[in-house]
């Protein structure tokens, strides 16, 4: 995950993007739980709403993988095919985990590197 690229793609500063991304992670984690619960209990409407919401936020942030997976869940929830959504859910969780991990790495990097802007990797 390249924060610089993602931020540039949607016209934000990196710091702003990070802030939004963190908010996303927080929100998405809750939504993921909602989806999980909804898939478990067969509540298609809740699953659809949560997936839709996550999809919107994800695509806004340029997180296509998550957006994709969420869109698939939304679609299946629409068609009341919750049983088919397990794969998409797993995928969603995996992508989300990756984003979380990469964000953590990014944060760790920013804690380690003195200045983000001064870092040659960033400039390249």
């Amino acid at each position: 995950m390249n924060i610089t690229q993602l931020a540039n793609a949607i016209g934000f500063k990196e710091t702003e993007y990070r802030e939004i991304l963190d908010l996303f992670i927080e929100t998405a984690a809750a939504e993921l739980r909602d989806i999980e619960t909804a898939l478990g209990s067969g509540n298609a409407e809740i699953a659809r709403r949560a997936a839709h919401s996550m999809k919107g936020a994800a695509v806004n942030l340029g997180l296509a993988d998550i957006g994709d997976a969420a869109a698939r869940i939304e679609e299946m929830a629409c068609d009341r095919r919750l049983a088919d959504a397990a794969d998409a859910f797993r995928e969603l969780a995996v992508h989300l985990e990756r984003v979380i991990r990469e964000r953590a790495m990014d944060e760790a990097g920013s804690l380690l590197g003195a200045s983000r802007a001064d870092s040659p990797e960033r400039l390249r």
Binding site: I10, H52, N60, E74, A93, E97, R101, A104
Partner: protein, 1078 residues
């Protein structure tokens, strides 16, 4: 044969005759002279005798050696002859050999023998001896020589073979590697080899030969050696006898002797061969080996002792006491004489000893040290004396051994202690581990296998310990999301402690919420994790209950606030109607009383409305929904706006309102200008409320300037009634005023300061007050604002240096005005009254540097000012001096001088731009108008033209439930200078919009939202008659036909997520422009 001379003679004659006869016949006897029968032995008798002898015999005359008589055997040999004869051809022996022999005998007067050899009849060589024996007469002259021939062939053969044997013996002896001698039965050495004299220190064999062999043996060994050798010979054994030999010169050395008997034909031993070998070196070697073997035995003994000790030490399970006792009992076995060895060990206050311990003078001891400290000693005693050469009772090795043992025992003690400590520590930690209320697992990092756990772990998980130890960490950690996060957390942060909350899966399938603390540990070189799980079910439950209670309470509070907000809103609408209609009523021709009544209605309605606004804000604060904008604004402009808002309240009072903005305050900041202004207005409003005369000063400076932000300090000073110290703390509490009576006297809800303080707090600052009763009050308000990229302020475009005269009777106002004008580049002269002002104008003119601009405060111009103004105009440079009246926005009724006397009027307090325009020569009123039109309806909002020239600032209502998208949109739009209000769903959007329909230029509407979706909200807004406001749909396109649905619902435009900056901004711009066009 003693013969008388005569007899002798007779014999000689007789023999001679025989000889002659013999010679003649070959067998006739020799006949002697007749007189020679004196001895009673007649010649014939003698001849008979000689003839009877079987060996050849011949008798010669002693005088001439002539043959007197020869027997037949002699004649047959042909050996005996008168004259020398040559050898015959058949090899007969020479006759003169016989004569020669006789001559020898006669000459030496002794028996002479010559040896001869000649071929015998069989051709073999035969050996003979010719013996000649002289017989002397009475006159001791040789009378006769008796010769006889002995055939010694046999003897010779024996001799020669004996000689040969002897030569062989030599050969054998020489070939022996050892010294060898042959001795006879008497012990006399007859033969020896060359090594023998060398061994014994003699130069030659001859020196040795003839000596007695026994004499060579040292006296003390001699008899024993002789006996041993005799036994050896007797038993015919081959062996060695060791003895000391003494060689030539007395040199003694150890040798081995062996003897063999040489037996003759008879089988009797006639000689003995003795060999001798120097074994000094070998013996030395043996001795050395022996000693070494002895040493080895000692070593082995010592080693055994040490090994036993070390085995003992290694046996960790035995109590140290036993080990030490056993050790002391082992010790004697390491000494040379274990049976008389005893030992004692003292370590600190403990004593260990062997049963036979008894202190003696034959004692050795060694100290026992632990970590350099002497903690005891060990002692070994011999019960009896045992001398070990020069070494004393103990061997050097034994001393070393004792030291080694002491060292070992020191180690035992140390190990014992360490072991004990370890045991105690282990027990302690095991105790902590086991008794811990938290479940503790040790997990191997790589395999994630449990390698240990405590009792609580069993209780928590429901698994037996043995089961757990076959499991892996993830088996009790289901891979739920929280765990995915945790896992990644653990994986990335394996080197740091971390605590996360997660759930573990118990054996019965129950998920137990736990707080997990993971800490890396290294156990026996393996990287492990220590996982500590604390069951937080109770806490979670408590938290859940608390949360529920809190949510309930919040919900109730929110409902209350919501109710108030709703009611306030519901009240506002009719209030607006009341105010509007009252205004309209006042415009109609009303009778005096009616007008008064209507005016009262208007005033009351205004008051009520502001009260409602306060309550609305307060309820928003309570509901946690007080939102802040983040847009660029000009603090100075906001400050002046606030001043102007309160100006009308000053009209009826003798109050001067001053406004001073420090130059350090950046011209443009980021933040929420409305909230900023709200606080300023509130503070100024309070000041005007509680101040009857004097002045109110609003001053702003930048208290702290950082790279990204600025802390503004606003001070509002008044000269009012002040606040009693005991009331200072309560004035900020809601619904409180310093005095209940003030409410009655001054009105108000008492919410203003509460709201202001909330705002200040939310802006990272505070509000505090300094006051004294009768001494006025100063409210200090601090808040942080973001810094905006510095744009060149309007002051940069200087108007050129102008000479300005300021006349004001208020010293503070004069000072502020002077400073502000000066900071704009003017050359300012300040005067406290008009007369001085006139004087200054005159002086300036005279000095050739006339006044360009004269600003006269209305207060200073009170009374008969017209004359002075005229004077000034006359004195000033013709057509050049501009005289301006500075007066409050709402002019006081009593005016000293009509406005027409002035060139223009400056509203007090004047903004920087107004002053600038004034200096540039534009009239302040024009300047004022220009300023206001620049930002229509929303003074203070939006950046100055230089910051965002391309876009207008809009107020946008965003209906969106997802906080991510809210944030995104807020950031995006705020950067463009737009002001965003957020509604979390359709319902809220309707409420917020309906509350102030005129406020919003645009609505951005998410379609899918909880409570009420965007489509419905839009329909309702349109249904309420708000058709002008553009509504733009934002959707993450879930379904086909969305766009149509949106348009049908009354939306104007449709944006799909992802929200792209340019798209959104374009659409917003387009819609805003469209609305304006409409």
């Amino acid at each position: 044969m003693l013969l008388h001379t005569e007899t002798h003679r007779a014999h000689e004659d007789a023999l001679r005759g025989r000889k002659a006869a013999g010679r003649g016949s070959g067998a006739s006897a020799v006949c002697g002279a007749p007189g020679e029968q004196a001895a009673g032995l007649t010649a014939p008798l003698l001849g008979e005798i000689i003839e009877s002898i079987s060996i050849p015999v011949c008798i010669r005359s002693g005088s001439d050696l002539s043959i007197l008589f020869a027997n037949t055997a002699a004649v047959a040999t042909g050996v005996f002859a008168e004259a020398p004869k040559r050898f015959t051809q058949d090899g007969l022996p020479p006759h003169d050999e016989s004569r020669y022999t006789a001559q020898q005998a006669a000459a030496t007067r002794a028996h002479a023998i010559t040896e001869h050899s000649w071929p015998g009849a069989g051709g073999d060589a035969q050996n003979f001896e010719i013996h000649a024996h002289p017989v002397f007469g009475p006159d001791d002259v040789p009378l006769l020589v008796v010769e006889y021939l002995l055939d010694v062939t046999d003897r010779f053969r024996v001799e020669s073979s004996r000689r040969q044997g002897e030569a062989n013996v030599h050969l054998v002896l020489e070939s022996s590697p050892n010294a060898a001698v042959v001795h006879d039965s008497a012990g006399v050495i007859t033969i020896c080899n060359r090594k023998a004299p060398a061994l014994l220190g003699f130069a030659t064999k001859e020196e040795l030969i003839g000596r007695c062999v026994w004499d060579l043996i040292a006296p003390r060994d001699r008899e024993r050696a002789k006996l041993d050798i005799a036994r050896m010979l007797f038993e015919e054994k081959i062996g060695d006898v060791e003895c000391t030999l003494v060689g030539s010169g007395g040199a003694a050395f150890t040798a081995e002797m062996s003897a063999v008997a040489m037996r003759g034909r008879s089988g009797d031993a006639s000689a003995f061969v003795v060999t001798m070998k120097d074994v000094t070196e070998r013996k030395r070697m043996y001795e050395m080996l022996e000693k070494r073997a002895c040493d080895l035995r000692t070593r082995v003994r010592e080693l055994n002792c040490l090994i036993k000790l070390s085995r003992l030490i290694d046996n960790e399970d035995r109590p140290q006491k036993e080990v030490l006792q056993a050790a002391i009992e082992i010790i004697p076995s390491g000494w040379q004489y274990p049976s008389i060895t005893c030992a004692r060990l003292v370590i600190e206050d403990r004593e260990f000893k062997t049963d036979n311990y008894c202190e003696t003078i034959w004692k050795q001891a060694s100290g026992i040290f632990v970590q350099g400290r002497l903690i005891g000693g060990i002692e070994v005693c011999y019960l009896e004396e045992r001398a070990n050469a020069a070494e004393g009772p103990f061997l050097a090795e034994e001393r070393e051994l004792l030291n080694a043992i002491a060292e070992d025992l020191g180690r035992v003690v140390m190990l014992g202690r360490a072991y004990h400590d370890l045991r105690r520590s282990e027990e302690k930690y095991r105790g902590l581990f086991e008794a811990n209320k938290d479940a503790i697992f040790i997990v191997e990092s790589d395999s994630l296998r449990f390698i240990d756990c405590n009792r609580q772990a069993e209780i928590l998980t429901g698994y037996e310990r043995a089961e757990l130890l076959t499991m892996q960490a993830h088996q009790i950690h289901p891979a739920r999301l929280a765990d995915i996060m945790r896992e990644s957390f653990l994986r990335h942060a394996a080197d740091v402690r971390c605590t996360v909350e997660a759930e573990i899966l118990a054996k019965n399938g129950r998920a137990i919420p736990v707080s997990t603390c993971a800490a890396p540990v290294v156990l026996g070189g393996a990287r492990c994790l220590q996982l500590i799980f604390r069951d937080i079910s109770d806490r979670i439950e408590t938290e859940r209950k608390l949360r529920a209670a809190k949510e309930e309470a919040e919900l109730a509070n929110k409902a209350k606030s919501q109710f108030i907000a709703n009611v306030s809103h519901e009240i506002r609408t009719p209030m607006n109607a009341i105010i509007g209609f009252t205004d309209m009523l006042l415009d109609t021709g009303l009778a005096g009383d009616q007008r008064d009544f209507a005016r009262t209605i208007k005033t009351s309605a205004d008051t009520l409305l502001s009260l409602i606004d306060d309550i609305l804000d307060f309820s928003k604060i309570e509901a946690g929904r007080l939102d802040f904008e983040d847009v660029p604004f000009e603090p100075e402009r906001v400050a002046f706006e606030a001043c102007r808002l309160v100006c009308p309240r000053l009209a009826s009072k003798d109050l001067e309102l001053l406004c001073d903005v420090d130059d350090r305050v950046p011209p443009v900041l980021r933040g929420d200008p409305f909230r900023f202004r709200q606080v300023l207005v509130n503070l100024l409003g309070n000041a005007t409320k509680f101040t009857e005369s004097g002045e109110i000063e609003l001053s702003i400076d930048a208290e702290e300037i950082e790279r990204e932000r600025v802390r503004l300090h606003v001070a509002v000073r008044d000269t009012g009634i002040g606040i009693a110290p005991d009331k200072l703390s309560i004035i900020f509490a809601p619904f409180q005023q310093a005095d209940g009576s003030t409410t009655r006297r001054y009105g108000g809800t008492g919410l203003g300061l509460t709201i202001s303080r909330q705002i200040a707090t939310l802006l990272g600052g505070d509000i505090r007050v300094e006051s004294s009763v009768g001494g006025g009050s100063t409210f200090h308000f601090t808040a942080w604002f973001g810094r905006e990229t510095e744009a060149a302020g309007p002051g940069a475009t200087g108007p050129g240096r102008k000479r300005v005269l300021v006349v004001d009777d208020n010293a503070r106002a004069l000072e502020i005005m002077t400073r502000r004008l000066a900071s704009l580049g003017a050359d300012v002269t300040a005067r406290g009254d008009l007369a001085e002002g006139v004087e200054t104008v005159l002086r300036a003119n005279e000095s050739g540097n006339p006044i360009d601009l004269c600003i006269v405060d209305a207060g200073a111009a009170a009374g008969d000012a017209c004359g002075a103004i005229e004077e000034m105009r006359k004195l000033g440079a013709p057509g050049r001096i501009t005289i301006i009246e500075a007066s409050p926005l709402v002019a006081r009724e009593a005016r000293g001088c009509p406005a027409s006397r002035f060139d223009s009027r400056l509203c007090k307090p004047a903004t920087r731009e107004e002053l600038l325009e004034l200096l540039r020569g534009t009239t302040p009123e024009e300047a004022s108008r220009a300023t206001e039109s620049a930002v229509p309806q929303r003074p203070g909002v939006g950046g100055p033209a230089s910051v965002r020239p391309e876009r207008r600032s809009l107020r946008i209502l965003l209906a969106e439930d997802n906080p991510v998208n809210q944030k995104l949109a807020r950031l995006l739009l705020a950067r463009e200078g737009h002001e965003i209000t957020i509604a979390n769903n359709g319902q809220e959007a309707i409420e917020v919009f309906s509350a102030e329909p005129g406020r919003y230029d645009l609505i951005l509407m998410d379609i899918q939202m909880p409570v009420m979706d965007g489509l419905e909200a839009t329909k309702l807004i349109r249904a309420r008659g708000f058709s002008a406001v553009p509504v733009i749909a934002m959707t993450a396109r879930a379904m086909k036909g969305d766009r149509e649905q949106c348009l049908q619902a009354g939306m104007n435009e449709y944006i799909t997520k992802p929200i792209r900056r340019e798209t959104v901004l374009d659409v917003i711009e387009k819609q805003a422009a469209r609305r304006e066009a409409v």
